[in-house]
């Protein structure tokens, strides 16, 4: 192997090596520049020494395979890979600012602040999962932020790609991950469940809101496995000011069986952004750990039965879609309402893990200051919420599967589109305006939504209802 001496000023494949930014156990990070490219880049070079843990090499190979295949604002842009036969490296975009790690000096933080961090993190993980990648090492030191606010996930050394051979799968007996954040199935060697990342987000939120790691930081396999049967202290026991909705969300993320967690990060982010709509269960009110006998019973069971079996086919986000129904309460015939509800029911039946968000846009007056009270002094917002629930009631959707949202906007189409983008909505269902004269004058909301939406749009129309 012809090794280039790595030092400031050296040139490697056209990259001029600048200052050493970080030297870690697995890799060192250097600032590099390339002629004709004004952007600052980062070169990651693995520590490869004789007798070194082979996992370090395999993990670097995986990162070289996965990073070039990722795109979007939630990952560092990949620039180049160095050949293993000469000098392995990865050159990527250099992100400014710090990771989330220094923030652990400021825990516990208010639940609302942690929920905001968690929602941004869930957005990033959702973007990754949609590209077929499970991160499997989500922790504060692997989380950064763009100046525009997006959360960025770094370090793909333990990641799993749905469409690539997983070189870490069979190679090593010990599970790979970071002890405080590792999901129970990951402890048991399963690397193909996207919901392992949801568990890690739950660990992070628990830690940031309470100042305590839910499962400590065990260093041995035996200690890691304890999370299969020993539940964490409920956050509200540690910090009584934590609201029930927050504990509900965190404990759902920390369910031992992956099937009981949020099916997708998008659904988790939606709950974190809509705390008043979180369906509270026994998790929210729990103030003590499970009793001695319950834990003893779990501990005695075969460990494989405590976790969910690996998925036959790796789940795709579309199996648990967020469906948004945009409902216009002022201008809808009973026929159209019935038809929209039937359309929604068919979608919900096909996808048992789908979530339904029922939206209504309260149109604001463009000129005058709008008043939120109507002539009788009723709050319009509350009245609309009640109206939406009544509209949805005939569908008999299970509580907890449906949320109601009254949005305020001058342009309803823009607001619906904005909602769909922010919440990673997969499917918008809405009715076409019945009256064609009205549509001519006011323009078509559904037409604009269908044209500009980031997802599937179903426009429901009753045949023969045109005037």
């Amino acid at each position: 192997m012809a090794k280039t001496r790595l030092e400031t000023g050296a040139v490697l494949d056209g990259f001029t090596i600048g200052e050493l930014i970080h030297r870690g156990g697995m890799a060192s990070l250097w600032e590099v520049t390339r002629e004709g490219d004004p952007t600052s880049c980062l070169m990651k070079i693995p520590v490869l020494q004789e007798g070194e843990d082979p996992a370090a090499i395999v993990s670097f190979e995986m990162e070289q395979m996965i990073m070039p295949r990722l795109k979007g604002p939630h990952v560092p842009r990949h620039i180049a890979n160095g050949d293993f036969a000469v000098q392995p490296y990865i050159v990527m975009e250099r992100l400014t600012g710090e990771t989330l790690l220094p923030q652990i000096d400021h825990v516990p933080m208010p639940a609302e602040k942690v929920a905001a961090i968690g929602a941004g993190l869930a957005d990033a993980v959702e973007a990754l999962h949609r590209q077929g990648v499970i991160h499997l090492d989500i922790k504060p030191s692997n989380i950064m932020f763009r100046p525009t606010g997006e959360t960025v996930l770094i370090d793909y050394g333990l990641a799993h790609h749905r469409d690539l051979p997983d070189l870490l799968q069979e190679e090593f007996r010990v599970p790979y991950g970071t002890a405080p954040y590792m999901a129970p199935e990951q402890v048991m060697g399963i690397r193909s469940d996207p919901r392992s990342d949801i568990f890690a987000i739950g660990c992070l939120m628990y830690f940031f809101a309470t100042g305590v790691r839910p499962f400590g930081d065990p260093q041995k396999f035996k200690g890691l496995k304890k999370r299969l049967w020993r539940d964490p202290v409920p956050p509200r026991k540690l910090r009584p000011d934590i609201p029930p909705w927050f504990q509900e969300i965190v404990l759902r993320c920390l369910e031992v069986k992956a099937g009981r967690r949020y099916p997708t990060p998008a659904q988790l982010a939606h709950d974190l952004r809509n705390p008043t709509q979180v369906q509270l269960t026994a998790r929210a009110g729990k103030l003590e750990k499970d009793g001695f006998f319950a834990v003893l019973k779990r501990k005695g069971e075969p460990h494989r039965t405590l976790i969910d079996k690996p998925l036959e086919r790796e789940a795709e986000a579309s199996d648990a879609p967020i469906v948004a129904a945009a409902v216009n309460l002022d201008d809808m015939t009973p026929e159209l309402a019935g038809k929209i509800r039937r359309t929604l029911q068919r979608i919900l039946e096909r996808s048992p893990e789908a979530r339904l968000a029922v939206l209504n846009v309260l149109k604001l007056n463009r000129i005058a200051m709008d008043q939120s009270l109507d002539d009788e002094g009723n709050n319009k917002h509350v009245a609309r919420l009640v109206g939406l629930k009544d509209w949805t009631r005939p569908m008999k959707v299970a509580q907890g599967r449906v949320t109601y949202h009254v949005l305020e906007a001058i342009d309803p189409a823009d607001k619906i589109l904005d909602y769909a983008r922010v919440n990673n909505v997969d499917h918008i269902v809405m009715g076409a305006r019945a009256n064609s004269t009205m549509r001519r004058i006011l323009g078509s909301v559904s037409g604009k939504v269908a044209m500009e939406a980031p997802c599937t749009v179903t426009v429901v129309r009753v045949r023969g209802a045109e005037e």
Binding site: V58, Q64, R162, D163, L164
Partner: protein, 246 residues
């Protein structure tokens, strides 16, 4: 160099033509046929002649167990396969028989090995069906990348530094990078009789520069081929499986 790799054409001319047309679009530099030119399908003579023509233009073609049986080798086969071979034999011209008899059992190119079945003992026609048989094949060869057919279901195996085998089911049209520090074995799907639940012809490309392996599909009128299998009096099961892809 980009290689186009096809296998198990099994006397299915429309499936072969659909695959060759798709490979032409993918701009491959050289073609490799991993054996089983004939057997099962209704077009033994035209398919053999077409592939013989490709070989004169530089393609590599290997011997498959059905090819060996069609030119007289003793073979242990199930009833359907044996019936198809009996049907095939009198339908091959002298020149086609000559071409099939002359096919090599293995071929090497750079760091690649091509063989119809398990590489540890090609003449035994052992199916590379799982990690254990893949291991047997991988340990027997020096080649960095081995390409086999015979199984009719696409799969990729990798021998790791600690002598374990990783199995990976490839996704169509998604490139798999084969890292140079380890040994790989790719099982091509079948052009003429896929068995992975998808009736479309299956084949792959391998870019020796970027070391990227990509599996592809090309659909064709398999119902028409199935009808010709029936019209030829071949076993009904051979027609059915072209439509179901199993």
């Amino acid at each position: 160099m980009r290689l186009g790799i096809i296998s198990d054409v099994h006397a299915n001319a429309p499936a072969l033509e659909a695959s060759l047309a798709a490979l032409a679009g993918l701009k491959v530099d050289r073609l490799v046929i991993l054996g089983d030119v004939v057997g099962y399908g209704p077009d033994p003579e035209p398919v053999t002649q077409r592939i013989a023509g490709l070989v004169t233009q530089g393609a590599i073609c290997l011997m498959g167990n059905h090819d060996a049986a069609a030119v007289g080798a003793k073979a242990s086969m199930n009833d359907g396969a044996a019936a198809a071979i009996a049907w095939t034999k009198p339908r091959l011209s002298e020149s086609s028989r000559g071409f099939l008899s002359g096919l090599p059992m293995t071929a090497m190119l750079e760091d690649m090995l091509f063989v119809h079945a398990d590489a540890s003992n090609p003449a035994d026609w052992i199916y590379v069906l799982d990690a254990a048989t893949a291991m047997q094949s991988l340990l027997a060869v020096k080649a960095r990348v081995t390409f086999v057919g015979h199984v009719h279901r696409p799969q990729v195996y990798c021998l790791t530094a600690t002598a374990k085998v990783i199995a990976h089911t490839p996704t169509t049209n998604t490139a798999v990078p084969l890292s140079p520090q380890r040994q790989w074995l790719a099982v091509a799907g079948a052009v003429g009789q896929p068995r992975d639940g998808n009736p479309a012809a299956s084949f792959l490309t391998y870019d020796t520069g970027s070391r990227e392996l990509t599996f592809h599909r090309a659909t064709y009128d398999y119902e028409a081929t199935a009808q010709r299998v029936r019209d030829a009096g071949l076993p009904e099961r051979l027609a059915e499986r072209l439509i179901s892809g199993t």
